[in-house]
């Protein structure tokens, strides 16, 4: 697009009417105005317009990225543990069914009856199921990596790794911050990488094994 079409007012000549020239100039002035196109912010003043252009934001699209949706749903970006994709009702988080066919991308529903712990926090977690006889993850057909919601993963977590009394290893993905016992305020992201998982059985009778996760 050239500039020629933008300037329609003829050049003034000696003897032209000032009023006529003014009218032509006024019409053209309207075409010169700065219009908002929704891509930037304008600060309009009597002395001119300042345009603020946002640089592209630094986005980190990492595995397990959790976004809180309406009705306490959570959209979770695909993540893997021991290369196994997480699934919700058998569908991977990027929308593949058990047979690999495309399916609707699932969202995780924080249960309606869910409540936070005493610190007004709860957790969206990946859950790994293992075979206690072998210490390995169960078969793919059994969806070894799923998503669960827990008020508190384990009260004695600080002794290391992810403790489990049973065959389930827990990897917190996001902290759900509650305003009160009924209202979710926001999510704070915890997990940002795919994980390797290993189960270490207890060395003592009736002892507890440990589920370790690392990146």
């Amino acid at each position: 697009m050239g500039f020629a079409g933008l300037f329609t007012a003829p050049k003034a000549k000696r003897g032209d009417s000032i009023a006529q020239a003014y009218e032509q100039f006024r019409r053209e002035e309207e075409a010169w105005r700065i219009h908002f196109n929704g891509q930037q912010r304008q600060w309009r003043t009597p002395h001119g317009v300042i345009i603020n252009v946002d640089s592209p934001g630094a986005t980190f699209l990492h595995p397990w990225l959790c976004n809180l949706g309406p009705d306490n749903t959570v959209l979770i970006r695909q993540g893997r543990i021991n290369l196994q994709p997480a699934r919700i009702d058998g569908v991977t988080l990027d929308g593949k069914g058990a047979d690999g066919a495309a399916a609707e991308i699932p969202t995780f529903q924080i249960p309606k009856e869910a409540k936070p712990n005493k610190d007004l926090e709860s957790f969206v977690c990946a859950q790994v199921e293992i075979d206690l006889k072998t210490g390995k993850m169960v078969e793919v057909e059994k969806s070894p990596v799923t998503i669960v919601h827990l008020a508190s993963p384990d009260s004695i977590y600080r002794d290391g790794g992810s403790l489990a009394k049973n065959q389930y290893g827990i990897r917190p993905l996001a902290c759900v911050v509650w305003s009160d016992e009924k209202t979710i305020d926001r999510l704070e992201q915890i997990a940002m990488f795919d994980y390797t998982h290993e189960f270490k059985p207890s060395g003592t009778k009736n002892g507890r094994g440990r589920h370790f996760f690392w990146v």
Binding site: G48, V49, I51, V53, T59, D119, F123, S152, C175, A191
Partner: protein, 326 residues
């Protein structure tokens, strides 16, 4: 229109003026904010304050101490976005205090924290030199340099995770049947321990001494650290040029944040549960010269069975914590 009114002309000029493009500003991209990222703010009332983006150890966000209006201090998780007034600073450069003092003959020698090159480039002066008897530190540099050089202050933020720990005693008795070494382990008092990881600020972070090695522990007993710690952040403040050493830290100083950790963490100890469910270890070792000699013989593997027993006992009874990226 047969004539041009002043009103119409002025309206056109006003419209043209209002629609002229004065400036185009490109805003900086909003950086991706990582866990533990520190933002700083200043008010006359509270001074410099830190706001730390939540960082997690396994599933729990670290806490920091917040003093309420009632004067009571409580631990508030970072997920509640508490503000943390910065109160502990060290001086680096011209106003620095020595890290250590020593003597070399009649001369006192002082060691100062090195001014990071980046801040030296910005104009931060060098530490003073200790002259003569060491009682009167003298600032280096010419008067001209002093008029333009800047001061530097810093503080450190450190992450702690409490965990169980043991202490042990070693006793050597010498009955007629032979020499008996008794090694007892017990828990360090953890009644004041916190479940959550927590942050502390300190003027200068000094890493802890490592736990006693097995050799030392077997000879002298031990008391292991009951917490794991990680240096998260160093916050520097650079003064305007040419200010006096006693210039207070206010809004005219420029902050710089150096992060040492960018990711959430996991933490584990080498053992879990209660390992102290065994009787104290008793070893019978042969008579030899000196009290420690039998133990040294054991540790050096002269008595392989005893050495193995002692090593296993110590590894089962002692706690070591560790952080890793999660």
């Amino acid at each position: 229109m047969k004539s041009l009114s002043a009103k119409a002309f002025n309206a056109l000029v006003a419209s043209r003026r209002a629609n002229r493009l004065v400036e185009i500003k490109q805003e900086p991209a909003a950086d991706w904010a990582h866990p533990w990222q520190v933002g700083l703010s200043y008010t006359e009332k509270t001074g410099w304050k830190a706001m730390i983006r939540p960082g997690f150890v396994y599933h729990l966000a670290a806490t920091l101490p917040v003093t309420g209006d009632d004067g009571k201090t409580k631990d508030v998780p970072l997920t509640r976005r508490p503000e943390w007034p910065l109160t502990n600073f060290r001086d680096i450069g011209p106003a620095a205090q020595p890290i250590s003092l020593g003597t070399s003959g009649d001369t006192i020698t002082a060691t100062f924290e090195t001014v990071p090159k980046y801040f030296a480039y910005l104009g931060v002066g060098q530490p003073p030199v200790i002259a003569g008897d060491g009682l009167n530190p003298v600032q280096t540099g010419t008067e001209a340099q002093k008029r333009t050089e800047r001061l530097l202050k810093a503080c450190d933020l450190v992450l702690y995770q409490d965990h169980a720990a043991t202490q042990g005693t070693v006793q050597v008795s010498d009955p007629s049947t032979g020499r008996i070494v008794s090694v007892d382990a017990s828990f360090v008092d953890t009644s004041s321990h916190k479940l959550r990881p927590y942050l502390k600020q300190t003027a200068r972070y000094v890493p802890p001494q490592p736990n006693a090695d097995a050799f030392t522990a077997a000879l002298n007993g031990w008391e292991d650290a009951a917490r794991t710690e990680r240096h998260l952040v160093t916050i520097y403040f650079v003064s305007p040029p040419g200010v006096g050493n006693a210039t207070p830290l206010d809004s005219t100083w420029t902050p710089y944040v150096q992060h040492h950790v960018w990711w959430n963490l996991d933490h584990a100890t080498n053992v879990i549960g209660n390992p102290l469910n065994v009787q104290p270890l008793r070893l019978i070792v042969p008579l030899a010269g000196g009290v420690a000699q039998p133990l040294i013989d054991v540790l050096l593997g002269i008595l392989n069975d005893a050495a193995s027993t002692l090593a296993q006992f110590l590894s089962n009874q002692r706690y070591v914590g560790k952080f890793w990226t999660a």
